[in-house]
Symmetry: D3
Subunit: 239 residues, 6 copies
């Protein structure tokens, strides 16, 4: 997990994407959640966390995007997969195209073998039945059997892209839980991770309170009294 501060990584492995969205909203960011993408797999090891490595595609053109295109060992899709640094997340800009796959099982397997942290696409994948069984974080727009060449031409590696309507700059920190994927601007990762972790400790307490019958007013958000109770609760728990 090359570039991440270990404490940041530890926090981001555990906090929810919803909490991260709240922290980013507090800092003025309203558009950080990748739309139209769900987690396909059920990977072990906590959240997907890693810096973004991106791949960009444009619409296919019939003369260029034939099956023979892959005979070129420098084809950007293949080269991209071979270039993702360990611990990084491959993020594909498929322009939200849902009719064809972004990739399939062999490429996903290669990604995993190379030590990538995961795969995020705003298009579907093919071989989705087999990929679903892999212990590897894959976020995509479900499964679709037609191959990528029908609508995609991979063109650029590690440039700023859009994915699911969100800007993704190479090196931005990608975090995914079972709800979806958030893109954290790289320079904010540490502070957002710290604050998100603190927010979640409080929310555990507040949820306990609400489950125990507390009214929302005064509890969520907490007033001074609830905050004091929270401090006591933390002390008791040794937090």
């Amino acid at each position: 997990m090359s570039e991440l501060n270990p404490a940041t990584l530890a926090h981001l492995k555990k906090v929810s994407v919803a909490t991260l969205c709240t922290q980013l909203f507090k800092r003025g960011f309203r558009n950080v959640f990748i739309q139209g993408t769900q987690r396909l797999t059920t990977p072990s090891g906590g959240n997907l966390v890693g810096p973004a490595f991106t791949m960009r595609s444009i619409p296919a053109r019939e003369d260029l995007d034939q099956i023979s295109a892959f005979d070129n060992p420098d084809h950007p899709q293949r080269k991209g997969i071979e270039s993702v640094p360990p611990g990084h997340v491959l993020v594909l800009d498929c322009r939200g195209e849902k009719r064809v796959a972004s990739g399939g099982q062999i490429l996903t397997t290669r990604l995993k073998v190379r030590g990538a942290a995961g795969l995020v696409s705003d298009g579907p994948v093919r071989d989705s039945g087999d990929i679903k069984k892999m212990d590897f974080p894959v976020y995509c727009a479900g499964g679709s059997a037609p191959l990528n060449l029908i609508h995609h031409h991979a063109i650029d590696l590690n440039v700023p892209i859009g994915c699911g309507g969100v800007a993704v700059y190479p090196g931005d920190i990608i975090v995914g839980d079972e709800e979806g994927v958030v893109v954290i601007p790289a320079h904010l990762a540490d502070e957002v991770a710290t604050d998100a972790a603190a927010q979640e400790v409080q929310e555990v307490f507040l949820l306990e309170r609400v489950a125990g019958g507390a009214k929302l007013a005064g509890t969520y958000p907490p007033n001074a009294e609830t905050k004091a109770m929270f401090e006591a609760w933390k002390k008791e728990k040794g937090l």
Copy 2:
């Protein structure tokens, strides 16, 4: 379950939403099924049934819909949740907005603690992974991590609304099964429940006939002969 006739409640707990749609279609209602919403949880206790308590939202405005908005204990979203009468269903008009959450785990927990019958929204919820595990009927447009303030401003409680393209008047009877949610105009609840229950007894018989090899013609819908067989079958079953 405040206002419902016990026999009606008993019927509505068991009949399918599909059957209720058919009964309403026979009475001239074509638009009673909330579109774009699925059940997120797998609650015990049969169908979701209860009178509607509604909340209306409009698009957010950046100066009004900051995180501090919730410091106001009278914020309509919070007040709404504290106002749902026991046995009622909170129905949210989120204008079909799929990009942000309508609410999350703490609010859903409070709803449950207060004795609400369930939650129906035409938007997604956040903390969807945790909510999925609750024994509480939640119908929504899946999960989405961004918070409601990004696109929603809660504005009115218990006024007529649209939800998933359907008119919902306060007090309409909401019924949800694993397929989705139907809105029954309050004054029709009793007769629709009775007829739906009768229809389902017949359909159990007809399904048995079809599973046993009967042709559709004469069976579905039943002709005089099949109807006679149905009467005999009911007698035999003591129905």
Copy 3:
């Protein structure tokens, strides 16, 4: 399974729809995967395979499409279900309409009893909870409770249709796996099945190679060296 060559049937039962899409792409077909449809059930017995028997619908008209329409034993929807030859797949053109059901449990049960191979629709089904438990291949746009008469008028049997954006001619070979449904022009079924089976043998080998650490270049697609290794591997496996 009336018309299919047994070897073709055996191949099509096992190969993936993704592989079939690739084979058809190599032959110039880019639009063969039914869009917007998922498998609802988890049937035993391998892929759905069978010749298409089609039913066409047009928008409903309020005076014609009342509940009493089904009293006519020659209503095309009912007649269609009674006409699907054993081993054939009923393919419904619902014009991609997602707001109402294409059919429900009784009709699906009759289809199964008659020996149909499966059901494919570009609309949803009702009674989806019960149908989900049937050991019968059903592909559709999820579940929706409102009945078909609200938006559909069944009009024609076994004419060329569109389903999910794809042309389906009666007798075309329908294949469905957990990812979705492909439509194979009838005259290509044998050669596509043979080539798909061969492709999948190679992909098992290539996946093994990639899982074992091979780079994509030279492996996928295979160069001369990898092809030689593949021949050796096949010999070893007795393939």
Copy 4:
């Protein structure tokens, strides 16, 4: 104008499509206006009026829908245009496909020469700049240059179809004004035309009243007093 009663034709040439929609709504028809289609031309001679002659298309298939398809003199698109009876309206079911044309200038010219009343499509036309200048009623989804073969395969003539979400049966009466196109079930054409003409006489009077300062209450809809004034006004005008 083969089949239409001359009084009906005279009325339908003048009344607005909006008025016809109201008359059909009063008879229980809610879905009679072709959605997604505008008038491209500004023809002389009042409304488009005529019985529907239909053409159905399905999605194209790459092996069948090559440019050489038109070498076949029986190609349904060409045959269809040669078959439209004088005074009839050619209505094309293009499945709402907006990406390619339904036809172009040469075909539209042939239609006009043959004495067709007009053309209605739920897809665009090509050569839209030239067609715009024709004195011939053309309703479509704007202009689009790609040829029909890319997405359409014409398959059937004069069968019931859907167009812009509305059922069109051969012989239904098509009426188009500058706002759009309504489909009148054939058996209702006479009564709807009569009542629409009467409604419009009243609306001329009511509009005069409102333009002159009358409040809506009592005027629109008219109460007994306004109705009496209307009778007097008609007498005065000799209507």
Copy 5:
């Protein structure tokens, strides 16, 4: 034009909606332009300007929304039109529904006679051909003949609504030019109008410069030198 400061009104009559969007963006507002709506008429007298008077609708229900509904003189749609204060803009929340009209010529005429400043809807209007000829600002989603009762039930007057995805509070200042409609929060109208007017003076100068061959760098946005030239230009023009 009841509530508006005369200088503000004078400015808003002339500046473009684009400039107003820029001024609001500078203040943190990103969502103030009503989407999916165009100007139907070509009114004299500069921009549409006036405080918003709103009407809210929900989906129709077949038993309530029959033609007889309008016999009630207190029907909210009719009452709403009779309630718009002179100089105000009637803004309709039609939930973006494009399939039916929001209103027609008689209601629009009454609005004009009553002295309303204009009409804004996120749905279409009927009688669009006649309305197009009125000297009255009407913004809507084009023309559509079916009547509102098919999908709309007017329910509330002068409450906060959404229109074209934008929050509209009663009294917000609505400004429309040929490009569309912006909603200015009431408390910002004066300062936004002043700054917009100043921005446009500068843009006239900058456009002159660019039309005369100036490069963008240093001109747009202006550097110190260009600003000095602008001051000189203003002095020369007596501005």
Copy 6:
């Protein structure tokens, strides 16, 4: 018009985009027409023709895309406009985003002053009322007042992009008429132009024939007899 063969340029100035789409379809290209874009202006001088110079944008990010971004003289949007070579067409990839403008009057004026051939965007423009009056080819998705920074961040110049769903490589030949815009792969421009010009001569003849009463069969497409008549007609016309 830098790179274009003069004969090619002359042909492309006159032939229709529809004809060019047909020529490209004959060569296997099905996706060459930019979708969702119309001509805003009515420029003199025949078709828009020129090599593509591209600009790519990604979704905006709130911290980067503030109004101050344009203070940077190297901002890609501004730099892009200053870089378009004379005779080239600026093609903007706005990811089909319709909610905000791609640019406005000052930038379009600068483009024109610099000698660009025209502007093509798959998003709208602002100041659309003023731009409409310019004698300069502008193709876009209509008008929209909000500024580009709300959703766009210009990022790259003259890289391959998608525009309206079509691949555009720098140097591809862009041709626009009143119907829309086609993208001709650079290496095909000469042959496509020649064949399109020839096709149009024939279509003038065929249209004359059809307007004069010829049946489609034998005329369109022409049989041997019609082809002979065409040769005679050409001789007569001295073509």
